[in-house]
């Protein structure tokens, strides 16, 4: 099934500049419905309120709620648990990747990243677009 580029994408990062970069790269890939949150708790509220996000792209190291905590909350929520979730983070130790995998992350991108990597991980999670 073709990927619906009209899907709502939630991007989560405490660096406003990174949100701006992610938004621009996603727009170049054809995704225009993009919302932003600056930590896990704000993102969780938005996810629960809307319930219609087709993809979450989240940083890990944020306060008060981290990306990993957000991921665990999403996977524990019956309505949200199937939401594709990509972690985009500077945390690149193997124990981080293992922890994220165990928590149910869909894919993992290490910062700094390029547009090709972002696209390939999105394709692996959503399918070709």
């Amino acid at each position: 099934m073709a990927v619906d580029k009209g899907m709502h994408v939630l991007i989560v990062d405490d660096y406003k500049t990174m949100l701006r970069i992610l938004r621009n790269l996603l727009k170049q890939l054809g995704f225009d419905n993009i919302d932003e949150a600056t930590d896990g708790s704000q993102a969780l509220q938005m996810l629960r309120a809307a319930g219609t996000y087709g993809l979450v792209i989240s940083d890990w190291n944020m306060e008060p709620m981290t990306g990993l905590q957000l991921l665990r909350e999403v996977r524990a929520d019956a309505k949200l648990k199937a939401t594709p979730f990509i972690m985009v983070t500077a945390e690149s130790k193997s124990e981080n990747v293992i922890a994220a995998k165990e928590a149910g992350v869909s894919n993992y991108i290490v910062k700094p990243f390029n547009a090709a990597t972002l696209k390939s991980k999105m394709v692996s999670v959503l399918g070709e677009f």
Partner: protein, 217 residues
Amino acid sequence: MPAGSIDADVAERLETIRREHGEMISIGRIAEIVTDLLDRLKLKQDLRLYTELEQLADYIRDIKAEIAALRPDEIQEHYLPSAADELDAIVEATENATNSILAAAEAIESVAADVDPAIADRLTEVTTSIYEACTFQDITGQRIGKVVKALKVIQGRVETLVNAFGSEIDQIRQKTDAEKAAAGPTAPSEKDLLNGPQLSGAAKSQDDIDALFSGGN
């Protein structure tokens, strides 16, 4: 036991006993002599211990004076907070610069819709490269944040040291201040003038400088 291995003090005591009592001596007297000898030995040991303790105290005093002379209070009050402020200023400056670059790239991208598709593709390619390059700011910001955290830990440890030293550091501070006051005001050397970029609160704006040149204060 060979005579050479007997303590001179003990040998002298033995000689006195021989002179006073000959080779025969009562058990009670032996007990008195042994008790007296043991007391003397204990006193000698105590004296040696006191001497060592005194040397140790002198050593600790010297070390404390040397550490106090390094002015950990200055490191705590001036250098560490200043270093943290400078690092925060770096993060702010790079963030501002990155946002300016992103705004320029976004402006270029917006033009792409109005030009020939081949040119539009090239413009998009270039702006993508700019967006990718701008991710450096997130990484440098996080790295600098780690350094600032480390500086705060060091600052806390130095504060503990300064509190532990207390009066020694105050004495050195007073002495240094008095020496400066006695020397009187001096014109800053060129080295004193070279402080690099200033934090926004401490810097003169171009308008301030223009006012100085036009005869203002």
